[in-house]
Subunit: 214 residues, 2 copies
Amino acid sequence: MGQAAAAQVSANDGALSAKRGAILTGASEIFLNVGYGAASMDAIAQAAGVSKQTVYAHFGAKDTLFEAIIQQKCDDLLAPASAMEEDCRDVAVVLRDIAERFINAILSPENMRLFRAIVGESTRFPELAEAFYRAGPRKAADGLAAYLEAVNERRELCVANPKRSAELFFAMLRNDLYMRRVLGIDRSFDQNEAAPLVDQAVRAFIDAHRCEET
Amino acid sequence: MGQAAAAQVSANDGALSAKRGAILTGASEIFLNVGYGAASMDAIAQAAGVSKQTVYAHFGAKDTLFEAIIQQKCDDLLAPASAMEEDCRDVAVVLRDIAERFINAILSPENMRLFRAIVGESTRFPELAEAFYRAGPRKAADGLAAYLEAVNERRELCVANPKRSAELFFAMLRNDLYMRRVLGIDRSFDQNEAAPLVDQAVRAFIDAHRCEET
DNA sequence: GTCTATAAAAGGATAGAC
DNA sequence: GTCTATCCTTTTATAGAC
């Protein structure tokens, strides 16, 4: 019996994060699909393939589990960060590059579901809403602002207020499409819809920041 | 007994919409403040000042009540509609006017709460999400597109695709501020924050649609 | 139509064995 | 750590008197 117990303990130690990982995965699935309110702990346990008590053993309660999930997803958003101040290609090319990456990121089904879940509970979990904002929109705008400042010094464009201009650029990219996707009106992830938005935004942005050539 | 019954019936007829109105008001308050999931029928009945059974007598169930409320709010959005194709003032002036009305409308606490409630339940109630989109963003863009078409024919601006340009204009106005408000990060309804956005959007829009003066 | 009281079910959280 | 079985609160919805 002692041996059996020891074997089981070591097995548990070895698989320390196995169950925990399963819970995180299952809970993500449920929370992001149906939102906080409609997600039941039973459904989460079932999706994770563990018992409900195991879920409670790892995370104390439903709200802390939700916070852990969402916080992790927000941190993942921070990952693809790259400095672009040094990028010396033509401004239009760089902007187009940034635009395509941005629009693919925000329109991804993953990000859509995350955003919906956070908006729905922004009153109950204000910290999560702020974490999302910082990891997503804020970080993107800061990165672009740094690039625009360099562009301004190189006299390639005339950017009086980099932060404001960066926010404008991303706002133009979200356009109506982001709204439609958030509302679930456009279900498909149609690449062809996004391409014209990139064109439009880059062109309009450059027109609005062209240096006066008196 | 026949007389008493008749009297009661007529009394009920007279106050037919009194209780119903109270329910609509109370339910709006609850639903828009805490969302569909967190709203209990008890809380709604209490807010309306009626018994729970009265709520069920008027609206069969929680979801139909929610639909009735949200649908009504969306219809209210449609009310302030005015044709502006005929407005012959300077384009910059008209756009500024449109911009200010738009930004005040979408940033109003009322609209914010409506939007959050709809987004949170866009999976469960897709029709409501679509109703909101049509009554709000879609309708605003259509109205501006009609105006831009007239402007284009008058050669005041060069607008190749009125619908696309209209969507761009409103996207520029939402900017980062709409996102922050939706997430509940900016709590206050600060007018001073919106004014620079109007400036920026009108200027950028005109720059991007200026007719070539070869 | 409106109320009070109650049924019926779902869901968050815990107890105790292993 | 993990499971099965259970508790208890909340919540939707209904019954029946007036």
